[in-house]
């Protein structure tokens, strides 16, 4: 484990140095990411400026949801470039063979493909929004709350990482571009920026049991904010919910394993 982390750190070190060689390009794309999500947030602000609140949620509360999910996604996004480009970079070119020739798990090597520094733009924007939300809300912070917030972020990173692993796994069957998965990744971020309680019950079920977006955002955040859940869930469930993200990642690795086995039996 520590050995794997050391290897990943080495890969990231190399990747970061490579990106810093093209400093202008890095600064521009990071700024682009920042502005992109900042403008999105401006839209949210305009909405609240006009209507005051959203189904009983204040602007600051929604900003908290927004900030957490964007930080989460930014971190996962930075770690998964290798999976995002898996079809075009590894399967089509046969470069996946190179990973199979090395004595390490293929998924670990792919995670090391790049540490995408440009995602710092979204992360920064998410952190600013989160900081503002925290200052605007009167949350009685204690160790348990901080721990749960960190667990929420960890579960969320695991969930989005799992989505990317799943997307890459599909490339073993089709090398066509998988636009449909963007519905879950970018669409997922959009969805989880708002409290789950505003959605129709059918969507709430899907986002809890199928694609557990609610479990890595809404439910634990409700506990962190210390408000009662309009959906009626209890504190224990809310605190454990982020583990669904870890379970989701586990399942995505099972799919990945099937894909690798298919690759090694067909040779393409």
């Amino acid at each position: 484990m520590t050995d794997s982390i050391a290897m990943l750190a080495r890969y990231f070190g190399v990747s970061i140095r490579a990106q810093l060689q093209y400093r202008t390009s890095f600064l521009l794309s990071a700024a682009g990411q920042f502005l992109n999500s900042a403008i999105e947030f401006l839209g949210l602000w305009a909405l609240f400026d006009r209507f005051g609140h959203l189904a009983g949620w204040s602007f600051a509360e929604v900003a908290f949801f927004y900030g957490v999910i964007n930080c989460t996604f930014a971190i996962a996004d930075a770690l998964t470039t290798g999976f995002d480009r898996f079809g075009s970079h590894y399967v089509k070119t046969g470069d996946f063979d190179r990973l199979l020739l090395r004595p390490r798990p293929t998924a670990l090597q792919l995670a090391g493909h790049e540490f995408a520094l440009r995602r710092i733009g979204r992360l920064l924007q998410g952190l600013i929004v989160l900081a503002w939300a925290i200052s605007a809300l009167d949350i009685p912070w204690d160790a348990a709350r901080v721990a749960l917030l960190l667990l929420t972020v960890a579960g969320g990173v695991a969930f989005f990482f799992g989505l990317m692993v799943l997307q890459a796994s599909l490339c073993f069957w089709t090398t066509e571009s998988l636009e449909i998965m963007n519905v879950l990744t970018y669409g997922g971020v959009e969805t989880a920026q708002y409290p789950l309680s505003i959605y129709h019950i059918a969507f709430r079920r899907i986002f809890t049991f199928v694609v557990p977006l609610g479990c890595i955002g809404y439910f634990p955040i409700v506990a962190v904010l210390g408000v009662d859940d309009p959906l009626g869930t209890g504190r224990v469930f809310q605190a454990l919910a982020p583990l669904a993200g870890v379970a989701f990642l586990g399942l995505s690795f099972v799919a990945w394993g099937f894909g690798v086995r298919r690759y090694t039996s067909t040779g393409s």
């Binding site: 190179r98 199979l100 090395r102 090694t264």
Partner: protein, 336 residues
Amino acid sequence: MSQIEVRSLAKVFRVAERRAGLAGAFRGLVDRRIREVHALAGVDFDVERGELVGYIGPNGAGKSTTIKILAGILTPTGGTCTVDGLTPWRDRRRHAARIGVVFGQRTQLWWDLPVIESFELLQRVYRVPAPVFQRNRDRMVELMRLGPLLDTPVRQLSLGQRMRADLAAALLHGPKLLFLDEPTIGLDAAAKLAMRDFVRTLNREEGVTVVLTTHDMDDIEALCERIMVIGQGQILIDGGIDDLRRRVGNSRVLIVDLEDTVSVAALEDGLRGVGTRDVRVTGRRARIDFDAGVIAPAALIARVTSRFEVQDLFVEHPPIEHTVAELYAEHGEGEA
């Protein structure tokens, strides 16, 4: 136990047949015709420690399939294979830590990184202890003459330089078995010679077992004591170069340097009734193709020296390309 043991190894690929045209593509969506391709149809061989084996065959004969299975990146459909006691595709990671692989057409290095940084990353990936790594690295840098190239990004290397770096990279973790897939492809004459030198040194001095696939018969003649020829998924010949030649008959060439220029007609006249196949003359040198089973080389030489003034003469085997081409023709293979 042999280092590599391969028994009845079989690989069947199921290939969806494509139909012509757009309409055909749509039909293919609902009604897929699957064709079975037998890339390997029962292959058996052993490789002992320290051997240098040439593995040759036309495109599509099953060479790459065999190498991929031995390297652990392809699962066979039948048969068994162990390398140092491990089954490559089942113990992929442990197996990968013990072997070195170089694909001539594809680099194992990081395209944008200086060579030395690729080496250092590989040290981590293969968990090579620092003192072992330093020793192997220094040895390889010296052997492959990589010193001046260490700080150059891989993408700026010439093909020959890149192959040297790739070969070094494959050996940093000290594997005792090396698979080389077309290591001289695309290299210029000097780089080819250098590459053969490295491979020979590795085999003789470091005791590394080498399995080498190539299309270049000069590689084979320069390096391999043993050759395996594969065609249509089966091993056609497994033996020394002499076995290969014997298998396709007794073709020989007698090369004669004459005192004076002699016309083809005069030569043919002098050899009438002996059973030679073909006579060519360039200047004072004559090349006489014959079958050693029809006329013994000694008898032919006696005949030539009795009729003509000879400065020098020697008997040659035909180039091995011809031998292999004849063998493929015998087995109905297209390309040689």
